[in-house]
Amino acid sequence: MMRLEEHLRKIVGEPWVISGKERKLYAYDGFTAVEGDPELVVLPGNEEEAVKVIRLLLERGVKFIVRGSGTSLSGATVPVGGEVIVGLSRLNRVYSLEGYEMEVGPGIANVMVTKNAPPHLFYAPDPSSYVVSSIGGNISHDSGGVHVVKYGTTFNSVISLRVVLSNGEVEDLSYGPFLSALPIFVGSEGTLGIILRVRLRLYPRPKTRRSLFAVFPDVRSAGEAVVGIFKRGVIPSALEMMDRNSIKVVEMSRYRAGIPDVGALLLIELDGDEEEVEEQEEIVNGVLTDTGGARLSVADEGKVWNARKGAFPAMGVISPAYLTLDCNVPRRALPEVLEEVSRIAKRRGVFIANVFHAGDGNLHPLIPYDPSSPESLFRAIQASNEIVKEALRVGGVPSGEHGIGIEKVKFMGLYHGEAEMRVMRRIKDSFDPRGLMNPCKLLGGCEPKTEVTRWLWEWD
């Protein structure tokens, strides 16, 4: 029998199989706390090649991981068990555009969907990594973004999928009544099948979009403003919060936008018809006054939004590595949870910056650590544990949009309980009876081989 590497090269062509030491360039994604070691990396150039590659791997019983742009923040594409990486970044074509629907390959970057759409339409889910993260990865993580609060997560924008199942069959899935096959693939992190092609929903561009910025003395009052805005019936198209620490970091980075040193900043976007936006603005102004906020006028609105979108990687200016959580909490609990987060930071001796989707209660505490010091990573993980537990205590969920990956495996059991976990494992087993697709992720089930994975996967 031909060696696997040789066979793969025959399918995709010589340059598109990466072996030797260069394969290590796929050792991690946007989550760098755990370094994997892929056996091989293969980059098929079109659907036919991708199907052949997947069938070959299935035939030979080889474990593999499907990867897009490699920006997962939960480590969903880290090859912890020496898997083969199937990179679909080259499957980035726009196949068709019809009405409000666009059909694309999974490797296309999120930003390219709107770029390829007619000017009156746009693709709504926009994770902060939208300039690079792939649509396939967005679907596999059910990614969110600043516009989730009004337009929903990726889930709400997927119309149909073409997937390869573990028997090698290619299937087109779309929504239907009753037990629909499509939704289960959204957020499945590549554990159930391989996404080959996607039909996405586009939304009409609103006639007016207006940004308001407001500063607050502390996160509690900003949290109260968030609750107030919804209570008075306004659904903003984006509602983001940055706390003092995250403002400080961003102002030290390339994204500096001249944001003053305040307890918290709210970034609010309202959209709709002119009249509608006027009315919403008036209501929001009232809420801001009632909660102790003050409107901040800025010269360049785009700069402030970019500061928000670049806030994660901007952490690089103070630390080369960080953990970022994404638990969701009910909006009403925001003030309470944020205060608890800062208490946890003090107790654990870590720096925590909060920059997040306040409108849908999706927290993003960023916890920098020193990658050369295991002790520093350990403290960051301990702080994460406490934050997620606090989020669950007030009625939240462990992950809103970054996925479970290898980072949050142990929180699944904590949130779902044993019976639910059993059901999910049975579903996984029926899609992938031999456990070849992205093992160890989402539902766990692997023995930790390193100290760091033990910290991540086991309770102490």
Partner: protein, 340 residues
């Protein structure tokens, strides 16, 4: 192999789609993030050599990683590249070698001649106590003598005393990892005295300015000279990569605006042209794919006339069938008109 700067990369990947070689290969190996990871993990990757050194990744990087300093430390210039770069230091010698090279059987010279079909003798021009020291840049002096003449014509028409200084700024050396030689070359320009140093190749301007040389780009210098000149043309602007890093595109557009040109912007004007200095000689396939992508962006602008202020960009854009002009070429037209 670590160079001590790679640790500030948080692996976010924001640089990927900004990188021309990633965009056409979509492989981590040929991406800035992959190259930095290779440095971190001590992997001798082919990606080090496939970098076009356009530095667009630095503009895209939220963490401020000094990519150029990392990549130039790990690149090793091949003897072929060292030879080519040392020829560029002496444009007159390069011209003679290329002329003689018609009959030579060197693979490299044949490839150079494919893109540089008609190497010209660098223009020598000297005046006593010049007000302007015009620095064409090595490739401009060899490939675009006419542009140097045009620049001279315009400056003379403005009543200025000019001397032409032929040579190389060292950018080519730096991009191939010959950092020390690059520093030596650029240091010579630091000591140029007796007149304003004006650079005709905008990527050279950027390199010189970053290295501490007091220099004005031709576009910046002529801004102060323009009067009633008008050029009635529709065209688009390509922003050479290094020039773009220091925002020279602004001055170029300001000159065009004053001339009353109808400017039709192309998509991503600073997207790499595909030349990558001499890159296209060594990685023809990747370069061709980047050139084609660039050409597509230009074609969509609906105009065939492109302003490029840097010679290697101009060469590949002409190669792709566009009509390419330098600001100096446009300005010279106004001089002819006033004489008529």
């Amino acid at each position: 192999m670590g160079v001590g700067l790679e640790d500030s990369c948080v692996h976010c990947g924001f640089c990927l789609e900004a990188c021309p070689t990633y965009v056409v290969t979509r492989s981590e190996v040929h991406s800035p993030r992959g190259r930095i990871t290779a440095v971190k993990l001590d992997v001798d990757s082919q990606g080090f050599d496939t970098c076009m050194f356009c530095r667009r990744c630095e503009l895209a990087c939220p963490s401020g990683v000094e990519y150029a300093r990392i990549i130039t430390k790990v690149r090793r210039a091949t003897p072929e590249k060292i030879l080519m770069n040392s020829l560029l230091e002496r444009p007159r010698l390069a011209w003679r070698v290329l002329k003689a090279g018609k009959s030579l059987n060197s693979g490299l010279i044949q490839r150079v001649r494919l893109s540089l079909r008609d190497p010209q003798e660098p223009l020598e021009y000297r005046e006593e106590s010049p007000e302007v020291i015009l620095f064409p840049g090595c490739l401009t002096s060899l490939a675009y003598r006419r542009t140097v003449e045009n620049a001279l014509k315009f400056l003379k028409a403005k009543g200025l005393r000019v001397s032409v200084l032929n040579g190389c700024c060292g950018l080519a050396h730096r991009s191939e990892g010959q950092v020390e030689r690059a520093q030596e070359l650029v240091r010579r320009l630091t000591n140029v005295k007796g007149g304003t140093l004006v650079s005709l190749s905008s990527n050279c301007t950027a390199h010189m300015r970053e290295s501490g040389v007091q220099v004005l780009d031709f576009s910046e210098y002529v801004l102060g000279l323009l009067g009633q000149e008008r050029v009635e043309l529709s065209l688009t602007v390509h922003d050479p990569c290094h020039a773009n890093m220091i925002g020279l595109g602004k001055a170029t557009r300001e000159v065009l605006r004053k001339l009353g040109v109808n400017l039709v912007e192309m998509e991503e004007p600073s997207f790499e042209c595909g030349a990558g200095g001499g890159y296209f000689l060594f990685h023809p396939q990747i370069a061709e794919n980047v050139m084609e992508l660039k050409a597509e962006k230009i074609r969509r602008s609906g105009t065939n006339l492109v302003v490029s202020t840097n010679p290697s960009c101009s060469l590949v854009l002409s190669f792709k069938g566009f009509q390419v002009v330098h600001l100096a070429d446009l300005l010279a037209q106004t001089v002819t008109k006033s004489l008529e």
